[in-house]
Every structure is written in structure tokens, then in C-alpha cells.
Amino acid sequence: MELLGLYNYWIVIFLMMSGFYIVIARGNLVKKIVGLNIFQASVFVFYISMGKVSGGTAPIVAEGVEVYSNPLPHVLILTAIVVGVATTALGLSLVVRINEAYGTIEEDELGIMGDDD
């Protein structure tokens, strides 16, 4: 039962591995970025679940509440999300430019077009 009790880790690991798999196995550049997003999201989930304190409430000062969840991981992950968004945006814009320059976003086709210098 203990194994299932840590279900958040199972989710994190599942997401992480699927994301990682997509990044590696997919030849489509956009799909790779989607995979990367899933990969990062797993880390976000990991941080957020880490900050949870059993029985604690949202970390906003309120009357009659003693136990709060740890807000720090949430703050951290907010930053990480922003970084993730920036990465995604940059990655996608690169894909757009690649598509304009090569006319394709399939990795194997890009490889063939490796022009010699």
C-alpha cells in the first residue's frame, strides 16, 4: 500500500518518462517540444506536490488555521513555469523559422538536407 500512497511520484515519473520518450522518439519538431513540455510539467507537479503539507491549507493567512502548505515550492515553480513558457515560445518560433527555411519540420528530412559547406 505504501507504494500507492506515494501516487504523486508515480504520476510524476509517468509524465516525465512519457515526455522524455516523445522528445527522443518523435521526429516532428513540434511534437518534440510538446514532449519537452510534458517533461517539464512533470517537474512542476513534483514541486507542487512536494509543498503540500498534510492537512494544511493554502498559504494565505487566515483566522483559525494553524497548518499551511509550504508556499516556497509554488513560488519557485511559478518561475519555472515562466521559464518553460519562454522556452516553448522560443522553441516554436525556431520551428517556424526552420519551416520557412527548409520547408519541413520532420527531423529525418532535415537531416537529409544537411547541405555541405
Partner: protein
């Protein structure tokens, strides 16, 4: 009064100047702003290093929140030294930038280049001086994101694909790092590096800590392009604009090496990293593999920039090898090589930029007769190349000297032999270019003198001169690196 805030200002000024560059729009104005701020950062870095070497570590609480709660900027001999390298290269490359950027990027987009450049500089400096594990991640991503942009500015369409590949691998590396930090936070409840270092020894056997160690090492190794995680590097360096290649090659991987050093030695402690978990042998093996495979691949490259990129991977092998020895000498060698390699690769890639400026190619066949057409550029390449080989009286010799010495002191004979043999491979690939430049006649239609403009030559030669200076008078660098190594191993006075 301002002097007390130097640790923060060093990062903040470039960071703030970046949006100013966006507002300025004009290529000239943006350049002036970037130039000014990069030199200020350089000056600050110099002052800080002097202060740290004399007065011991400095701590600066950002936002007035005392560590370990707030973000701390913490400078000791190690990162003050690395910061100085980064700032120095950043400043010198900025001198070089305007002409090269005009040629390779175009003046209409130049201000964006300067913005990204300053962000990258700020990010790298931030990684170096921060004392907070998560803050390090943020700065790492600032520098990485801006370097993806910088690389994609290359003229060749392959620059885009190279930037994309780097983005994917870089992000994976950073995310792995983030997981590691998360696990550490879970185990210790702190993000402050010094605080972590205090709490971790008691938690040696916690599985989470070990997993964190694995994630952190792999993540950072990706960033520093340790063999076999180097796949992003050759393309990125080859197709990026010359200025960018020079800057990144001289700084980005060095900063990642620093981060690895920091985690292996300060945070986890040499005891944990190398005794409890035997990291030494695997690191040494990978380092040696990097030295050889990358050098051999470099020999067969037709594109000189790509050749130098592979050489960078090999050189990173030297740094990691020094780390894997876990002695003061080994670390001194590593840190020295971080510094010296920045100088030599900076000089070489700037020389590449000069070549590209005139010839619009860095293919080895187009180097024929370069010595006649661009004597100063060719001579600069020779200077940097000799340093790369490790010829005496150049900076490269000093770091090789210490590295071999460190290997000998641990009685690691085969390793010492491998180091010298691999540096002989450098002779081959450097000499291919030198021979082409000096002993082949230039193509008949280009047999004229067409030296690169002075604004490109002067910064290149500053770095070449630095290579020679720090090869002849190594007292300054060796003592700083030695002190840094002692700090890392915790035997500092």
C-alpha cells in the same frame, strides 16, 4: 557606498541594460550601451576578485533577506575567479562586436543581438555568483535562452536547426537540474548552497539525496557538454555568428563547469562525491574519452569552426579530468584551464570571425594563403593555436603542466601519458590550418592583402596577448586558481 553593492550590480547592470538596448533601437547606440555596461561589469568583477582574494568570501543578501531565507550572492575565490573570466571575455568580445555584427547579423537586428548578448552575460554572471540553488537555475535558463537566440542569429539556415537542437538538449539538462534541486530541497528544506553544504553530510544515506546527486550531475554535464552529452555543441558553435561563438565557447561551458565544481565539492562535499559515491573513475574515463574522440574527430573536420568546436569538447575533457583527480593540484589545473581555455578559444574564434568577415567562409580550403592575405589574423590564429597545443610560454602550457603534474602526483601514469598524447592530436589539427594558411598560395584571383579592420583585430590580439602573458607570468592565475582549489576542497586558510 556603491562598492558594497558590487556583487549585485555586477549582474543587475547588464540585466537592466538589456531592455534599455531594446528601447534604444539604433545599432550604434545599443552597442555603446552594451559596451559600457560590459566593461563596467568587467571592472566590478576585477575589484571583487581582488577583494575576495585578500579579504575572504563576500556575502550579499538580495532584498535584504538574510540567508538562508533570502537569495544570497556569495563570492569566494572560486566564483569570483570564474566571474572575472566571464566578464573579461564579455567585455573584450563587445569591443569586437560592431563590425562583425553588421556583417553577419545586419544592423537592423543588431539591437536585438545586443539585448540577447547582455541577457546572456547577466545570466552567466548570475549563475557564477549566486549562492542559491534555484536562483542558479533561473540564471542558467536566462543565459541558455538568450544563447539559443544568439545562435539562431547565424546567417546559415542550419543555425536555426542547431539552436533548436541546443534548445531541446539544454532544456532537458536544465530540467534534470531542477529535479535535482527539488529533491535536495525535499531532503533538507533549504536552497541556499552554503546551507545545503552544512545539512547534507548528515543525510548521506538518504536515497533522495543520492538521486538528487545523479540528476544534478547529469543535468550539469549536459550543459557543459561532457562527452557523450556533447552532441549539441559542434553545430551550435559552427553555425552561430562569429561573435556569439567566441563568447559562448569562452564562457558558457566554463560556467557550467563551475556549477558542477560547486555541487561536487562545496554542496555535496568531496567526501560524498568521491568516496561515498565513487565519481572519480567514471568522470576520468569520460574525460579521457572526450579528449581522444573529440580530438580525433576534430582532425577530420573541413570546417575550421567545427574543428575548434570539437576541440572545445576535448578541452572540457581536460577540465573534468582535473576534477576527477580530487586533489588541490588537479582542481588547480581544472580551474586554470577554465581560465586559459577561455582565453585561447576566445582568441581563436575571434580570429575565425576576422576570416569570415573578409572571406565569408571558414572552410579549410579557403584558408589557402591566408597568411599573405590577412597576415595579422593568421598570426593571431597561430598564437591561439600554439596555446591550444600547450606550447611553452603560452597559457595552454601552464594548465597542461599542472594537469600532468596532478596526474603524476596521484601516481596515475597512464593518465599523464594520455594527456600528453591527446595534446599531440591538437598539434595535428592546428597545424593543418597553419600549413594551409602559411604554405599554400592564395587562389589567383584573391592574391591581395585584405586584412580585417582594426576593430576586429585589436580585440583578437588582446586575447592572443593575454594568452602569451598568462603563459609567461603565470603567478597571478596560478595563485588565484590554487586558492580557489583550496576553497573547494575546504582546506582554505
Amino acid at each position: 557606498m556603491l562598492a558594497a553593492h558590487f556583487p549585485a550590480l555586477q549582474v543587475v547592470l547588464p540585466l537592466l541594460m538589456a531592455p534599455v538596448c531594446v528601447l534604444l533601437r539604433g545599432a550604434r547606440l545599443a552597442w555603446l550601451a552594451a559596451l559600457a555596461v560590459s566593461w563596467v561589469a568587467f571592472a566590478i568583477a576585477g575589484l571583487l576578485l581582488a577583494e575576495v582574494l585578500i579579504g575572504g568570501p563576500l556575502s550579499y543578501a538580495v532584498g535584504g533577506w538574510a540567508p538562508p531565507w533570502g537569495i544570497e550572492i556569495r563570492l569566494d575565490a572560486v566564483n569570483a575567479f570564474v566571474a572575472l573570466i566571464v566578464a573579461a571575455i564579455g567585455a573584450i568580445v563587445m569591443l569586437y562586436a560592431p563590425k562583425s555584427v553588421e556583417r553577419e547579423i545586419g544592423n537592423d537586428r543588431a539591437y536585438l543581438f545586443y539585448t540577447a548578448y547582455l541577457l546572456c552575460l547577466a545570466g552567466l554572471l548570475g549563475v557564477t555568483i549566486t549562492g542559491d540553488a534555484f536562483n542558479l537555475f533561473v540564471f542558467l535558463e536566462i543565459s541558455s535562452l538568450s544563447s539559443y537566440i544568439l545562435i539562431s542569429l547565424g546567417r546559415d539556415r542550419r543555425a536555426l536547426y542547431a539552436a533548436y537542437q541546443y534548445l531541446i538538449l539544454g532544456t532537458i539538462g536544465a530540467t534534470l537540474y531542477l529535479i535535482g534541486v527539488g529533491l535536495l530541497y525535499q531532503a533538507t528544506g533549504t536552497l541556499n548552497l552554503a546551507d545545503l553544504a552544512q545539512r547534507l553530510p548528515a543525510l548521506e544515506d538518504v536515497r533522495g539525496v543520492r538521486v538528487a546527486f545523479a540528476f544534478l550531475t547529469v543535468g550539469l554535464s549536459l550543459k557543459l557538454a561532457l562527452f557523450p552529452l556533447h552532441l549539441w555543441l559542434p553545430n551550435a558553435y559552427t553555425y552561430a555568428p562569429s561573435v556569439v561563438t567566441a563568447f559562448l565557447a569562452a564562457t558558457a561551458t566554463k560556467v557550467a563547469v563551475y556549477a558542477l565544481l560547486r555541487f561536487l565539492f562545496t554542496v555535496f562535499g568531496a567526501e560524498f562525491s568521491f568516496t561515498v559515491l565513487p565519481m572519480g573513475p567514471p568522470l576520468a574515463v569520460l574525460a579521457v574519452l572526450a579528449m581522444f574522440t573529440a580530438s580525433i574527430v576534430a582532425i577530420f573536420q573541413e570546417n575550421v569552426k567545427r574543428m575548434l568546436a570539437y576541440s572545445s569538447i576535448a578541452q572540457i575533457g581536460y577540465m573534468v579530468l582535473g576534477i576527477s583527480l580530487v586533489t588541490v593540484e588537479g582542481l588547480t589545473a581544472s580551474i586554470l584551464h577554465v581560465f586559459n581555455h577561455a582565453l585561447m578559444k576566445g582568441a581563436l574564434f575571434l580570429a575565425m570571425g576576422c576570416v569570415f568577415y573578409r572571406i565569408s567562409s571558414v572552410h579549410i580550403d579557403d584558408f589557402a594563403g591566408l597568411a599573405k592575405r590577412m597576415p595579422w589574423t593568421a598570426a593571431a590564429f597561430v598564437g591561439g593555436g600554439l596555446s591550444l597545443i600547450g606550447v611553452p610560454l603560452t597559457a595552454g602550457f601552464i594548465s597542461k603542466w599542472y594537469l600532468v603534474l596532478a596526474a603524476l602526483e596521484r601516481n596515475m601514469w597512464p593518465v599523464a601519458a594520455l594527456i600528453v598524447i591527446s595534446s599531440l592530436l591538437a598539434v595535428i589539427y592546428v597545424w593543418r590550418v597553419v600549413e594551409q594558411a602559411y604554405f599554400r598560395p592564395p587562389p589567383a584571383d584573391r592574391d591581395v592583402r585584405e586584412e580585417a579592420p582594426l576593430s576586429l583585430l585589436i580585440p583578437t590580439w588582446i586575447l592572443v596577448a593575454a594568452n602569451v602573458y598568462f603563459g609567461v607570468d603565470a603567478g597571478l592565475t596560478t595563485s588565484a586558481a590554487g586558492q580557489a582549489a583550496q576553497t573547494l576542497l575546504g582546506s582554505a586558510p
